[in-house]
Amino acid sequence: MKPGPLYQRDRDWHPPALTPDYKTSVSRSPQYSMISLETGVGEITGPVFGHNDIDPVDKDLLSNYAKSGESPIGERIILHGRVLDENARPVPNTLVEIWQANAGGRYRHKKDTYIAPIDPNFGGCGRTLSDENGCYHFRTVKPGAYPWRNWINNWRPAHIHMSIFGTAFAQRLITQCYFEGDPLIDKCPILKSIPDPLAIEQLVARLDLNATIPLDTIAYKFDIVVRGRRSTMFENRPEGN
């Protein structure tokens, strides 16, 4: 298959650079127009990762930092889903990395000083490669909400940060996965940096009882969509777009 350019990114679906209610964006948002480019060879290519780069345990946050025989405190969850492109085709073998606070809302980071305690059995990061059908899964604990300095009383809804590569450097994406039913979702200035309510909904993982392990671990489903690629019509690809 000949590489085609990527679909234009829908900038109205993403948050704009300047979102004053999320204060840090004010001095970190470029003010001039970006220069729009066709995606060339350096954009439709990107790093390729393999099973030598990571270990199977990396995707299990319940055990990847826990002392032998122990596990982190918190609600045990499976976070799973598929990596797809805008044509709804699976994206296999792509690297998905996550990081999150522990069940009390505290990050294992030397710059986090929140009063909630560090969990000695929880690192808070994981990584995996999607399988041949684009599926990925992690096991972790549900992160806690935590306060942050923006307005004086802002609380982040429970969320897991996610980093996705796709197959092209111009598909590179970082986002945050939220959890169905969290009343803080409607109040978060970072989430509300996204103008379209439907786009916000796309970041909310659904409770997925079918994927739970009964009497053991509850599950949430979160599909990730990276940019799709154009096919060159006059190359007569029978599979079409």
Partner: protein
């Protein structure tokens, strides 16, 4: 009733936040968890070409260096080949062309060692001047920013580069040209990224 197109929408971006290191560079967050972190060796031991260092700061609208940035680099090897199955040609064993760095918590300085990429020939035969693509994420950056590092000592190919020439304001092209100096006999290219102001770096919507 019109037909539906049935495309999916790209997952919306969200800021990487201040704790991006936990996920992408846990050693910097203060703990070891993985057998190996990714992206610390761009070129590998066997890459041909000139060994260089690229470094700089990311500066906010107040003129301060930002101390919680993560940058990723993507580049071709010295022959102008990307380490990717869709780009015809071979790269040296161990050449990734991809790297990941963070800014220093105290100074905001970032830097990586690599080989200088060669010019890339596009499918239409046009020559793309040697450059390194950068992707920049941080707290306060809602969608990762994309820019390119070009090299001061490639003036001839820079002058005909399609992308540089797309930038209508010639003085703004200079924001993409890394300045060369030498340290311990090794070329060092300085590339400061300014997020705002008169000399704001050119960013691309790719």
């Amino acid at each position: 009733m019109r037909q539906e197109l049935n495309y999916l929408k790209e997952t919306p971006s969200q800021t990487a936040g201040p704790y991006v290191h936990i996920g992408l560079a846990p050693g910097a967050a203060g703990f070891d968890i993985y057998r190996q972190e990714l992206g610390w060796d761009i070129a590998g031991p066997n890459a041909k070409g000139e060994r260089i260092r690229v470094e700089g700061c990311v500066i906010d609208g107040m003129g301060s260096p930002i101390k919680d940035v993560l940058l990723e680099a993507w580049q071709a090897n010295a022959d102008g080949i990307y380490a990717h199955p869709e780009h015809e040609g071979e790269v040296e064993e161990g050449f990734h062309g991809w790297g990941r760095v963070i800014t220093d918590f105290d100074t905001g300085e970032w830097g990586f060692d690599t080989v200088k990429p060669g010019p890339v020939t596009a499918p239409d035969g046009k020559v793309i001047a040697p450059h390194i693509s950068l992707w920049i994420v941080a707290r306060g950056i809602n969608v990762g920013l994309q820019t390119r590092v070009y090299f001061e000592d490639e003036a001839e190919t820079n002058a005909t580069d399609t992308v540089l020439n797309l930038i209508e304001w010639e003085h703004r092209r200079q924001t993409l040209i890394a300045r060369k100096s030498e340290r311990d006999g090794k070329p060092v290219y300085r590339f400061d990224i300014k997020l705002q102001g008169q000399d704001e770096t050119v960013f691309f919507d790719i």
